[in-house]
């Protein structure tokens, strides 16, 4: 943190503003798309796609994950694996059940 020069921090703040604009635009896009009443599958796919982009922007820049340490990545990757298991396996159980 202290390693960052004034110049760098100034540059970062400009990035923050850009990200903010992108987030705002994407929000409007999702809302706009929802008025198109696409088929349910397409709507889910698109909404989650846009949300993922927005989420990645927040995580990468506001949470400065893009320049984070390996240990943090490791923790998050582990978490994501279990997160996916937690979403998919009960769903798998739901679809592969008797009766």
């Amino acid at each position: 943190m202290s390693g960052h020069s004034v110049e760098e921090i100034r540059r970062e703040t400009r990035v923050y503003i850009l990200v903010f604009v992108a987030l705002a635009v994407l929000t409007l896009v999702t809302v706009g798309v929802s008025y198109l009443h696409l088929s349910f599958g397409a709507a889910v796919g698109l909404a989650l796609f846009i949300a993922s982009i927005k989420g990645s922007l927040v995580a990468a820049f506001f949470m400065h994950l893009i320049s984070e340490r390996r240990l943090v990545y490791a923790v998050l990757i582990l978490t994501m694996i279990f997160f996916v298991a937690l979403i998919l396996l009960p769903l798998g159980g739901y679809h592969d059940r008797l009766g």
Partner: protein, 196 residues
Amino acid sequence: MQIPYTVEPRPDTGLYNAKLGVWLFLASEVMLFGALFSALILLRTGATSWPHGYEVLNVPLATINTMVLITSSVSMVMSWAALRLGDFGKYRKWMGLTFLLGLIFMVIKTIEYAAKFEHHLYPSHDNFMATYFTLTGLHGLHVLGGMIVIAYLLGPGSKMWMTEPERYTNRVEVIGLYWHFVDLVWIFLFPTLYLL
């Protein structure tokens, strides 16, 4: 004896204690909200009928709220940047703004809830309303928690800036990470509840 690495990062991990701590905490939060999303998906998959969010909920209001929360995220990073530049006055303005935006979010949320209650839409109405209230309610509690910490940092906690500015800056970074996470959760909640 002093606990090491409260301020400066440990060379091999590159992190100071609180930063690793908050990331771990956020990992557990991912699992908390992950479980709730899992529940939502499972319930919706099994439901015989499930309304589209936009038919029941107030999308314009929620869009405004999304904007509010995104803005508060920017003001949060801006406050941290200001602090790193040593500009405490500017920091206070940005951080104050963040708090205010959090407050606005909560007020809008209250208006939204009140409207639902007026139409006799309670959590017990159906599983859509149940998930809506539970998820947004839990998210709201997270916003509230963040606001309390922000208030503390701006109020009594700000004394630390005079004695240990580096540590104070770290604290702001850490609460910032939390705040962005709460924003991130909303980014997913918003389409799943309101738009689909």
